[in-house]
Symmetry: C4
Subunit: 176 residues, 4 copies
């Protein structure tokens, strides 16, 4: 898909759903000897998520199971607790959200990187994969970001969407 | 060894044994001040291991000593506890497994990266080393993966083996 | 801005304020399952900070909130506790410091990487961004370091400033 | 210095002293919120250190202060506790060792990366710096390794020294 088409799609986005592993992280899992898991997130994504929400574009995080590290990270990123979705039935979770919110597939951007994301990427209007996503995800994505997972995907995508919508300059202006 | 020969060998693989350090990790050991060790694994390998097992190819992990972090990681990857082998006598462990399972060296793929893996790599039918394995391991490997240890070796190898066996498309299809 | 102009500005620097995230770290946040956060610092920066202070250039670290990890790191780097500034009102903190110290904007170098740093970067005499800072920060910086955040920004900048001031050789000489 | 001269020097090495930070690590310090520090080591170095010791070349680690993480790592690497030297007075520690062991500067290889290592690097017969060592250390080193700190410096150097001494093949042979 061409960049011009991706821009056209980005113009219509009202809500962005981020898969967590491979998108907000680079898929690395750190395991300590005592069995405690850690993951690495990127603080730059905080700016992207704030930019989307300040501009009226909704944001949620979708992962199969929510653990404390993901909760802490969501708090840092400013994502409200009810937008932190823990479900391995990703399609069903999306159905439920659309019923509650009145949003449709056409309003939604989904960011995913692996096999399990293919169905939902094909369903929503605008699908995005990171530079280091699986070849399967990149093949069907409307947009592949320049950065890889955990290196600022949300920040890059926020700028892409908000520039398409003519809202990025306004967001940046408040800092100048 | 040429790629074509590696494909021929991959066709016959019934069981894959992964060394852990340098294969499922990049050989980095994190040590905390209080002596607790951590290691970094790659979630993408979960897909590769699932693909192998779903397609009827057995999988085990072989490391000199099993600690809690490795147990947790094996659980995430879906490898059954009895397939998590902790032994520094790698050859003897393989002998034992072959006796129990009825499998032969000719059915087995071994993935290793260091000196200690050379003997077993030469013994089994199909030997694999990661892109950043030692020069000694890469020199004798039937296949060197494009990615380095801890960056998706199991995922890449699973696709290689299952494409050779004509089973990869079937695995991917369920996600489309 | 040209390198020559950056050197001229560096000659006049009496005090350097380092933003922490993205400057002394690469913006990665590690979260453990139990909610504990970690961050990665670079020991080479210790040399840069020592070089500045030994040469009579003051140093402070400015971050929105000071946590234990930042305190430990500041201790390693030799930055005095009262120079570890925790405030999200960065401008107000700078006003207060200037009143106390008698230093002016013209004496100060600020190192930042994100939107929130733009105002203070435009205010002080000499502004610096790391190689992997946001495009907005790099666009207005007087100097962009060759290394990225968490990879020795303070060490590189210290050498740049002290070479401009003719003091680097003296610092290095004590080790030969 | 040319490679040929480095080989000549390597032939005479009887003992190797490794600085720890920046050599066995890449100088990254991980700090947790609760103040606990971690560091990242490379398992490949275990092979290098074993190769040196098996071949009769002594090994010690020298760092300003020994903490639990360094003790654990030394155990993994097989370095005896009395060869784990914690002293910020590096020169004095070397004097003491030479007196005890009967070894001279001419027998010793030192591997360092920063300002603090320059004196000892100039004193011993064969000095080594990693690929990402400071420009000051690399400038005076007899050999700069191809890999950076924490990425297998000890393994690469062991092979360099033992190949120069004609002992590498013997070490590798036991694994074939």
């Amino acid at each position: 898909m061409g960049q011009a088409e991706a821009v056209e799609k980005a113009k219509k986005v009202k809500f962005v759903i981020f898969d967590i592993h491979g998108i907000l992280t680079d898929n690395t899992l750190f395991y300590a000897q005592d069995g405690v898991k850690s993951e690495a997130f990127c603080l730059n994504d905080q700016v992207g998520i704030k930019a989307l929400m300040d501009s009226g574009v909704g944001v949620s995080f979708l992962t199969s199971k929510v653990s404390r590290d993901v909760e802490q990270m969501a708090k840092i990123y400013g994502v409200p607790p009810d937008m932190l979705w823990g479900s391995s039935a990703k399609m069903a979770r999306l159905d439920e959200f659309e019923k509650q919110s009145g949003l449709k597939d056409d309003d939604i951007c989904y960011v995913g990187d692996e096999m399990i994301d293919l169905g939902i990427m094909k369903r929503v209007f605008f699908s995005v994969a990171p530079a280091d996503g699986s070849s399967e995800a990149r093949a069907i994505a409307d947009l592949v970001t320049m950065v890889g997972g955990g290196k600022g995907v949300a920040r890059e995508l926020a700028q892409f969407i908000l520039e398409a919508q003519g809202r990025w300059e306004t967001f940046v202006a408040q800092y100048h």
